[in-house]
C-alpha cells in the first residue's frame, strides 16, 4: 500500500484523523502563502482555508475507488484524499518529485490510485468529466461513484447546466457538490447570481438536492453518505450545496478588501477546524492538551516538509517532452 492510500485509509477510519488532516491542510496553506509571498514559489495559488470540512468529508466518505474531479482550489482536497504534503508542495514548487512531476503546478494535482483526476483550472471543466466517469461505472455495472467539486460562481457556466442535465437524464452515479464560499474571485455571489440557494438549481433537472452546513464535517458527511447511497443503488445524481466561506483571498495576490465588514469574522467563529474540535472534545476524543500537541505537530511536520522539498531536484529538461502521447 503506498503512502497516499495509507493516508486515505486514515481519514476513512478515524474521526481524529479528520481533525489532524484539517490542521495539516491549514498549516500547509499558511506556509504556501508565506512561500509565495517570499517569492519562493511562482505562478498562482488558491487557498482552501475555511473549506477543509468539505474536503475531509469527501475524502473520508467516498471509497478509494471512487473518483473526484476537483478544481484549481486543489490543495485541500488533494491532501485530504491522501496526497502527502511533500508531493503537493513539490508540485506547487515545480519539483520533479511533485505529484505531477512538476509540470502541473498548484492548479493541477493528480493521483490515480486515490481517484483524484487531474484538477482542472477551467471553470466547469470537471463537471462533465465526472459525469463521464460515472457513465463508465454505470455501463460496467460497478458500484463506484464520481464526484465533482466546484464553487458558487461556477454554477453560472454553461457546463454546469449541461452536465447536471446529462447526469440526471442518464441517472448517472455522480455527485455534484458546490462549495459555496460566497465569492467567485472578487465578486460576491449576489453580484453575479440572482438566487441565493444555489442547490435549488437542481430543480431544473429533477435532481435531488440539499443544502448543508459546510463548516460541519459531520453534516457534510451525512449528506454525502445519502447521496452516495443513492448513486450506488442506481438512484442517480445528487446536488449538494455546502455553505462555506473563503477565509483567504481568491488567489495569492488578493487581499480580499472587498469583503463587507465583519463577514470574515462571523464565519471564522464557525471555522471548520473549531467545529470539529468541539465535536471531538464533546465526544471525549480530544482534550486541550492533545489539541495543542497536534497543532504543534502540524507546524513541525510542515517545517520538515518544506526543508525536504526545497532540496528536491527540479525536473530534467526532457520531462517537458514526456507523457504527451499515451502509448498502447
Amino acid at each position: 500500500m503506498n503512502t497516499a492510500i495509507q493516508r486515505r485509509e486514515e481519514v476513512r477510519k478515524s474521526e481524529l484523523a479528520w481533525y489532524e488532516r484539517m490542521l495539516e491542510i491549514r498549516e500547509f496553506e499558511t506556509q504556501v502563502n508565506a512561500l509565495f509571498a517570499s517569492g519562493a514559489i511562482r505562478g498562482t495559488t488558491h487557498l482552501c482555508n475555511g473549506q477543509e470540512a468539505v474536503d475531509l468529508a469527501i475524502a473520508s466518505t467516498l471509497n478509494n475507488d471512487d473518483v473526484v474531479a476537483a478544481t484549481y482550489r486543489s490543495h485541500g482536497i488533494g491532501l485530504a484524499m491522501g496526497l502527502t504534503s511533500e508531493s503537493v508542495l513539490a508540485e506547487i514548487m515545480g519539483k520533479a518529485t511533485g505529484c505531477a512531476g512538476g509540470v502541473g503546478g498548484s492548479m493541477h494535482l493528480c493521483n490515480k490510485s486515490l481517484g483524484l483526476l487531474p484538477t482542472s483550472a477551467i471553470i466547469g471543466g470537471g463537471m462533465p468529466i465526472a459525469a463521464g466517469a460515472a457513465l463508465a461505472f454505470q455501463i460496467r455495472k460497478e458500484k463506484r461513484v464520481a464526484l465533482a467539486m466546484f464553487g458558487d460562481g461556477s454554477t453560472n457556466i454553461g457546463s454546469f447546466h449541461e452536465s447536471m442535465n446529462l447526469a440526471a437524464i442518464w441517472k448517472l452515479p455522480v455527485i455534484y457538490i458546490c462549495d459555496n464560499n460566497v465569492y467567485g474571485e472578487y465578486s460576491r455571489i449576489n453580484i453575479t447570481t440572482p438566487i441565493e440557494d444555489l442547490h435549488m438549481r437542481a430543480e431544473s433537472y429533477a435532481m435531488p438536492h440539499e443544502k448543508v452546513d459546510g463548516m460541519d464535517i459531520y453534516k457534510v458527511k451525512e449528506s454525502l453518505a445519502n447521496a452516495i447511497d443513492r448513486a450506488r443503488s442506481g438512484g442517480g445524481p445528487t446536488f449538494i450545496e455546502a455553505k462555506t466561506y473563503r477565509f483567504s483571498g481568491h488567489s495569492r495576490a488578493d487581499q480580499a478588501l472587498y469583503r463587507p465588514e465583519g463577514e470574515l469574522e462571523k464565519w471564522q467563529s464557525r471555522d471548520p477546524i473549531l467545529v470539529t474540535e468541539n465535536h471531538l472534545i464533546k465526544a471525549g476524543k480530544l482534550d486541550s492538551s492533545k489539541v495543542a500537541e497536534m497543532k504543534a505537530k502540524a507546524v513541525k511536520d510542515m517545517e520538515t516538509t518544506i526543508e525536504k522539498v526545497q532540496k528536491d531536484p527540479d525536473p530534467q529538461i526532457n520531462a517537458m517532452f514526456k507523457n504527451i502521447w499515451a502509448v498502447k
Partner: protein
C-alpha cells in the same frame, strides 16, 4: 472486398470495433434511435443496446466532457459532433482538457476517445454548417487529427482512431458520406501515415478529405505525372512521406479546403520549403478557398472549395512555368 458508401464504412468500422471491444461506446445527438443524422450509426443501437449507444441532449460541452471522463475510466467513447462548428461550444473539453490529461497526470491517465465530426462545404448548408475548421484542433500537443477521404480510409482510419490511446479528432467531409468505394476490412491504416495514392515524377500533390478526389480528377485532366498524397493525418502529419515525394518530384502543390489565409496547408508548404530549400524546381504552392465565409447559393458555393478545373489549371501552370499561379479570384478580378 466489399463495395460500400462512406457512411456504411463508418458504420462497419464502429460495428467491428464494438464487437471486438466492449469498452467502445457511442453517444451524440440522435445517433441511437434515429441512427444518426447522416446514418452513420445504422443498426448499432439494435445490435449493441442502449447502454452502449446513446442519444444525448443538445449539450456538446457535457457529452464531449463525458467522453473525456469515460475514457479516463477505461472506456473508449466515440462521440459524434454533428457539424464541426458545434465544437465551438465545446472546444474546451477537447483542447484544454482531453489533450492535456495524460501530461497533467504524469502519464497516469489516458484519454482514448474519438470525436467524429462532419465538416466542409458543398451541400448547401450555409456559413455556419460548412466550414472545415482544422485550425481549432491543430497545434494541440496531445490531440491527433485525422480526415477520411474515401470508404476505405473511413473504415481503416476510424478503426485505427478507436484503437488509439489518445484523443483523436476524426473529420468526415459530409459530401463524401454517400460516395461509394471498395473496402477491404483487413486493410489496416496507421494514424500518422500519409497514403501515396498515385505515383509520378513531375509534381507532388498533397490533399486531405474530399480535396483528394478533386486533386485526383485534376491530375487526370492535366495528364501530368504526379505523386498524389492523401495526408490523412494532419496531426502528427507524415513529414517523411511528403519530403520523400517532393525530393523526387521537386514540385509541391497542396490542395486544401480552408482559407487562403491561415489554412493548414501553410504547414506543409512552409516545412517543405524550408527543408528542401534550393532543391525545388518551382515554388511550393497552396490551392485553397478564398478568404470568405462559405456562401449558400449554389452559384457561389460551387466555386468556394477548389474545383478540379481550378486545380488542374494551377498544376499545369506550375509545372509548365515553374512559377506560382494566381488563384481564380485574382485572375478573374472578382474579389475586390
Amino acid at each position: 472486398m466489399a463495395d460500400m458508401r462512406v457512411r456504411q464504412a463508418i458504420v462497419q468500422a464502429l460495428k467491428d470495433e464494438m464487437t471486438n471491444d466492449p469498452s467502445v461506446i457511442l453517444f451524440g445527438e440522435d445517433i441511437a434511435a434515429a441512427e444518426g443524422p447522416f446514418k452513420t450509426s445504422e443498426g448499432l443501437l439494435e445490435q449493441f443496446g442502449p447502454d452502449r449507444v446513446r442519444d444525448t441532449p443538445i449539450s456538446e460541452m457535457a457529452f464531449t466532457g463525458a467522453a473525456v471522463g469515460a475514457a479516463m475510466m477505461g472506456m473508449k467513447p466515440v462521440i459524434e459532433i454533428m457539424f464541426m462548428e458545434f465544437l465551438g461550444v465545446a472546444l474546451d473539453q477537447l483542447v484544454t482538457e482531453a489533450a492535456k490529461m495524460h501530461y497533467l497526470s504524469n502519464g497516469e491517465y489516458s484519454v482514448p476517445m474519438v470525436v467524429r465530426a462532419s465538416n466542409a462545404s458543398g451541400l448547401g448548408f450555409g456559413s455556419q454548417h460548412s466550414q472545415t475548421l482544422e485550425n481549432w484542433v491543430n497545434a494541440t500537443p496531445g490531440l491527433k487529427v485525422v480526415t477520411l477521404s474515401d470508404a476505405q480510409s473511413a473504415y481503416s482510419l476510424l478503426r485505427a482512431a478507436i484503437a488509439e490511446p489518445n484523443p483523436v479528432m476524426f473529420l468526415e467531409p459530409r459530401i463524401l458520406y454517400a460516395e461509394r468505394g471498395s473496402v477491404d476490412t483487413n486493410l489496416k491504416m496507421e494514424i500518422g501515415k500519409a497514403r501515396l495514392l498515385q505515383n509520378g515524377d513531375q509534381v507532388t500533390v498533397v490533399a486531405m478529405g474530399n480535396m483528394v478526389n478533386v486533386a485526383r480528377n485534376a491530375i487526370k485532366e492535366t495528364g501530368i505525372s504526379a505523386d498524389l498524397i492523401d495526408l490523412a493525418t494532419l496531426v502528427p502529419w507524415d513529414r517523411d512521406t511528403v519530403l520523400n515525394s517532393v525530393s523526387k518530384t521537386k514540385r509541391l502543390v497542396v490542395v486544401e479546403e480552408s482559407p487562403f489565409s491561415g489554412g493548414w496547408g501553410n504547414e506543409i508548404v512552409a516545412y517543405v520549403s524550408t527543408q528542401l530549400f534550393g532543391k525545388l524546381l518551382a515554388p511550393a504552392i497552396r490551392i485553397s478557398t478564398p478568404d470568405v465565409p462559405v456562401p449558400f447559393s449554389g452559384a457561389l458555393e460551387s466555386r468556394f472549395a477548389p474545383t478540379s478545373s481550378e486545380v488542374s489549371r494551377q498544376i499545369k501552370e506550375l509545372v509548365e512555368k515553374n512559377q506560382a499561379p494566381k488563384p481564380w479570384w485574382i485572375v478573374e478580378g472578382v474579389s475586390k
